[in-house]
Amino acid sequence: MPRTLIIGYGNLDRADDGVAYFVINTLRRRLGQAALPEDNTGLEELGAQTDSIFLPQLVPELIDTLADYDQVIFVDAHVLEDVPDLFCTPVLPEYTPSAFTHHVTPAMLLALLHGLHHREPAAHILSIRGYEFDFHRGLSAVTRTVADQAVEHILRSAAPSVSVSTCCHTPIEPEKPSH
């Protein structure tokens, strides 16, 4: 049975940038797993059909973990105005570091994984629009609503009965109108 790893990443101290932490812990509760305390990435508790971790940043060493999975879903915030608030896109191996930053992207990780372990899991980035990035914790109301949608979407995508490579093919449920 295919195994799925969900990797949330972002900065808990910058409001909506920490949306993935909310998604990961809501997801874990829904899966009957304990929520991750702030100081626990979840990397020490892997082994389930669907595992989930939260990290401040992606690092090359993660490929040793990724090698054990058939599907990887990266959960992150986005600030793009021209894509939906909840946006899923497949990610393929590609290694192009930025001149300006020090971070490793999902595509770079997958390229490393392929280069070193010859593994190429189905991978997707599920991005949630962030609206507030001030120095505080907690999500804006809009982002919180989209985060709930993201959890439902992941649960449908990572269900044991569902084959891999489905995250972006699973229809994103439209937001229910509030009354």
């Binding site: 992606l58 992150d76 986005h78 770079m108």
Partner: protein, 485 residues
């Protein structure tokens, strides 16, 4: 027709940097600006908070240099409360800082900037990365890099609680000691790091130094600036990442200043430009003369090459040999070649690894006395350490309760901001002629930029990747052409 070229990583939220290049009527480069158009505001944000929270707050400035922010902050607290940490605590702090230096230098050299050389400056951008390194050097290298980084991060995680947001340093000491079992494990890591560092330097020799074209690029005028240099040195003027005095040498290598951390305000001033939120530090005694090099300009550089330039050598034997080799090949001190920062980075990684062994073999590192409690009334404190990308200064003032009233942070990329802008401009001027914007501009500018290992980032939320884009604008704002990848 006057035109503007913008190189802009469009998806950044934090640490947003931008390069704008202005062409004159003839289509040649008139000026190039390196901008940071985002106000971080951390200094203001910290006012009113208890000073002892700073080692936990400041690592959150960025996820890239958390360990060194933690160390600089902790040292500033030592100074604020005028408390001297026990020797064991100092050894442990330096061990953590050294382990961080090793792992961080390697992510830059093997994953980000170094492939420019190992794979080749003329290689397609898509190949100038760790996968290109693997193709050139062999698959084993990547596994070794990942292993050394993983094990060094394990030392940091074990001692500080978290790799990214450490909870370790306290005014007067540290929060936990080290067991003999941990020491035995960490020594294996340190010895492996020494072995790997020598291997990495051999790769540099075999691939870069044996290729005349590469050496010519390193030594070319397009990548050279005759600046002042700054870095921490120990009592013997040897490179030190954790403690000591700040030494400054002029473009001829002559010492012009050597001062204790508390005295930095007498030597450094910050110039402000209206087009950037980043400040441009300069030497007070020389003065700000604009974005120019030479002995009359107060612009100075920090980070690996600067640290080696200001020092009388390395404090460990293998690193000293590597240091001597570099200066012999590049013509003696100081070396002004910006691309030599990569070489110096590898020498520093070797020093940091050797230093880890020394620290771990010191019996005092497993001592039980890890903190002296502060008893004095706080007022003002300065902490300086060397981050992988340069000198890091934390300066706090507080009331008698330790509530912060003023905070000043000068981070590594601040120091190098003016040289980076100058390097970008020089590369742009060398490439853009009569309005012709070559695809090679991206490579050339990136190489000048990357050598400094600058960092403006910590948020990592891009869909896909952070694009780099050059846009050419006509004077009326019309986009004439765009190059992106």
């Amino acid at each position: 027709m006057s035109r503007r070229i913008t190189i802009d990583p469009v998806t950044r939220l934090e640490g947003h940097g931008r390069i704008e290049i202005f062409l004159d009527e003839a289509g040649d480069v008139e000026r190039a600006f390196f901008q940071v158009p985002e106000l971080r505001g951390f200094e203001e944000f910290c006012k009113g908070r208890p000073a002892e929270e700073m080692p936990r707050i400041t690592p959150r400035i960025c996820g890239v240099c958390p360990t060194t922010h933690h160390m600089a902050s902790t040292k500033a607290l030592d100074d604020l409360w005028k408390v001297e940490p026990p020797r064991t605590a100092k050894l442990l702090r330096e061990l953590v800082n050294s382990a961080f230096m090793v792992e961080d230098h390697y992510i830059h050299f093997f994953f980000l900037g170094g492939p420019d050389f190992v794979v080749g400056p003329q290689a397609p951008a898509a190949e100038r990365n760790i996968l290109g390194v693997i193709a050139k050097v062999g698959l084993e290298i990547a596994g070794q890099v990942i292993r050394v980084r993983k094990e060094c991060r394990n030392i940091i995680r074990t001692l500080t609680g978290k790799v990214i947001h450490p909870v370790f340093g306290l005014p007067g000491g540290v929060s936990r000691g080290m067991s003999e079992e941990e020491r035995a494990e960490f020594i294996d890591t340190a010895k492996f790091a020494v072995e790997f560092a020598q291997f990495a330097l051999q790769i540099f020799r075999d691939v870069v130094l044996k290729n005349k074209d590469y050496v010519d690029v390193i030594l070319s005028d397009a990548y050279s600036h005759q600046t002042y240099y700054m870095g921490l040195v120990d009592e013997d003027n040897k490179v030190n990442f954790y403690d000591g005095k700040v030494r400054v040498v002029d473009p001829s290598g002559k010492q012009v200043a050597k001062f204790a951390p508390r005295e930095y305000v007498d030597y450094i001033r910050e110039h402000i430009e209206p087009w950037s939120y980043i400040s441009f530090p300069y030497l007070k005694s020389v003065g700000w003369k604009g974005f120019v090099d030479g002995p009359d300009s107060g612009v100075y550089r920090v980070a690996p090459l600067a640290r080696l330039n200001v020092s009388d050598g390395m404090a460990t034997p293998l690193a000293q040999q590597a240091h001597d080799e570099m200066y012999e090949i590049l013509g003696g001190k100081p070396v002004h070649a910006t691309l030599a920062f990569h070489w110096a980075r590898l020498i520093e990684a070797l020093y940091a690894a050797e230093r880890m062994v020394e620290l771990l073999e010191d019996p005092a590192i497993t001592g039980e006395h890890i903190r002296n409690l502060p008893t004095k009334t706080p007022k003002e404190g300065v902490g300086i350490v060397e981050a992988p990308r340069g000198t890091l200064i934390h300066h706090y003032q507080s009331d008698e309760r330790g509530i912060l009233t003023a905070v000043s942070l000068i981070v590594a990329t601040n120091h190098n901001a003016a040289p980076i802008a100058m390097s970008v401009e020089k590369a742009a001027k060398g490439l853009i002629k009569k309005g012709n914007v070559s695809d090679g501009l991206l490579n050339m500018v990136e190489m000048a930029f990357r050598a400094y290992d600058p960092c403006f980032a910590c948020a990592t939320h891009a869909i896909g990747q952070t694009p780099l884009e050059v846009t050419v604008f006509a004077a009326d704002g019309t986009v004439l052409e765009r190059i992106a990848r």
